[in-house]
Amino acid sequence: MPLMTLEQLSYNYPNTRGLDHLDLTIQAGEFVCLLGPNGSGKSTLLRILSGLATASAGTYLFNDQVITADYLSDATKRQQLHQQIGLVFQNTDVQLFNPSVAEEVAFGPRQLGLSTAEVSQRVTDCLALTDCTELRERVPYQLSGGEKKRVALASVLALNPSVLLLDEPLNGLTIAAQQQLLTLLSRLQTAGKTIIMASHNFQQVQAVGQRFIIFNSAHQIDADVAGSVLATQPERQAQLMTL
């Protein structure tokens, strides 16, 4: 049973098209990279997958449930979906709203009804994983761009979602931090999480991604290749490098 299935899914913004008739199946445990030019629909797809927006046409199935506006209007069902899917926004500014970094990360776990000790354990772990331990007592909105990005990731990780959606998580990180993040993501995948990540930099994600979905500027999927296949196609790799 696939984890997520899109069938002829389209999404229209008020005046523009966001996605155009996508067909896509994602299995649990995959590491998928979304690539494509600016404005091709990567962020839009992640919004659909996370249930922030619902398809204008076509269907989206998550765990064999059709996700519609109706489905999402049921608070309990929406909550269940959100527990399983974590999204790190492209603009992480909007994601941080608590008065301190520690509280930001504790926000999710606390809702789950974990004990105080468990919550603080999670906070410490997540901050360590994303190298934010020193920022613990800082105010999120007063951080530098890259710091915000890492805190946002930590706050999503703390929920331990089984599907992680990441919208250009490498942007604004130093090369070292990028490497560290990619390693972390591979580990998470090994631990059974599904990871879907939008990125521009094929070179960086090449090593970790197992499947590459390439959008074109018509908001459609141009190609959907497995990493193993790609490894045998050097000319395609070269083309992706200069996307």
Binding site: V139, Y141, Q142
Partner: protein, 328 residues
């Protein structure tokens, strides 16, 4: 609390708009000084206006299962200073009236008076008083609650005076049909019981957040300023009273019952003279236990103008007190 159009007579609207004029003038002058010191004040004004708009459209859950929204007058006064808040709220109200149909266009002056003047200033005065007594949060809470309730009271009075100020020869009200005995309790009950608490909780929580995260972003008071603007304001109000008298006495196009019957018959709406018209005294009877009802309209108007001035004096008193204590 946005009063829509046609609830207030044009005379009342005009009076309140003119009453706002000196306040706006002072606010613009004050804010210009503020801009000189902190140039971010100018964009901040616009942003505060946008913020107020968002606050007013944000539905907050209340225990009964329904929702209410806060106005944020007191909160803005504490965040950016009362004068700037006055201007920002004015802009919000203008925007709502002209582009979003929230609150009347003619009634703009009245709405500005209630929500852009009374609310922030009452709230701010309480906050400063609390600050002086080292209970600023208590002051803020009381200010938020009092601010919205006094504004509601004034709105209720404005509405409730209409049947007295503007009615046809036979006594049928031309604008807001509810007298003081209905308008004031209705406005007050809604705000004392629900809206006031919503405003209080909302104000406190946002304030707490800002204070915890970035205390320097709260409005820092500047030392004492002159009292003169207040007297201009009072003078203006006093001058306006006769003007209101002129405008409010009778209505044009006397709307006699027989004429109306004719009109209504023509439109197949009804063939008898409407109840309220035929028994115009019913209306009077409703107000019979009201002392004002027996008085000529002009006296009633003067009384209400006096009441308004008195409320102002009380307000000023509050501000004065805390300003002079700030000096030491």
């Amino acid at each position: 609390m946005h009063i829509p159009d046609n609830y207030l007579s044009p005379a009342t609207c005009g009076t309140l708009a003119v009453a706002m004029a000196p306040i706006w003038t002072v606010a613009v002058l004050k804010v210009k000084v503020q801009i000189k010191q902190h140039r971010e004040t100018l964009p901040m004004l616009g942003i505060a206006a946008a913020l107020a708009f968002l606050i007013m459209m944000f539905n907050l859950p209340i225990p009964g299962g329904t929702t209410a929204h806060a106005v944020g007058g007191t909160l803005l006064a504490v965040l950016i200073g009362p004068w700037a808040a006055c201007l920002a709220l004015t802009v919000t109200l203008l925007l709502q009236a002209l582009l979003f149909g929230d609150g009347g266009i003619l009634a703009f002056g009245a709405n500005a008076f209630n929500m852009a003047f009374i609310m922030p200033f009452v709230g701010y005065a309480c906050y400063r008083l609390g600050q002086k007594l080292h209970h600023e949060k208590l002051g803020l809470a009381i200010g938020a609650y009092l601010g919205i309730n006094i504004a509601a009271l004034v709105a209720g009075i404005e509405l409730g005076l209409q049947p007295l100020l503007a009615h046809t020869a036979s006594g049928a009200p031309l604008y807001c049909p509810y007298g003081l005995n209905i308008a004031v309790p209705a406005m007050l009950a809604a705000h004392l019981l629900v809206a006031g608490w919503v405003e209080l909780v909302f104000t406190l929580l946002v304030y707490q957040f800002v204070q915890k995260v970035a205390p320097t972003n709260l409005y820092q008071t500047t030392p004492k300023t002159s009292q003169r603007p207040w007297f201009y304001l009072l003078g203006g109000l006093a001058l306006l009273t006769p003007l209101g008298l002129l405008a409010s006495n009778t209505a044009w196009g006397e709307w006699s019952p027989s004429e109306l019957k004719h009109l209504l018959v023509q439109q197949h709406v009804g063939s008898t003279v409407p109840q309220g018209m035929a028994h115009g005294f019913h209306f009077q009877a409703l107000f019979s236990d009201y002392a004002i009802a027996g008085l000529p309209v002009s006296v009633g108007y003067i009384l209400s103008a006096l009441t308004a001035i008195l409320i102002f004096l009380l307000l000023i008193r509050g501000l004065q007190h805390d300003q002079s204590t700030f000096k030491n």
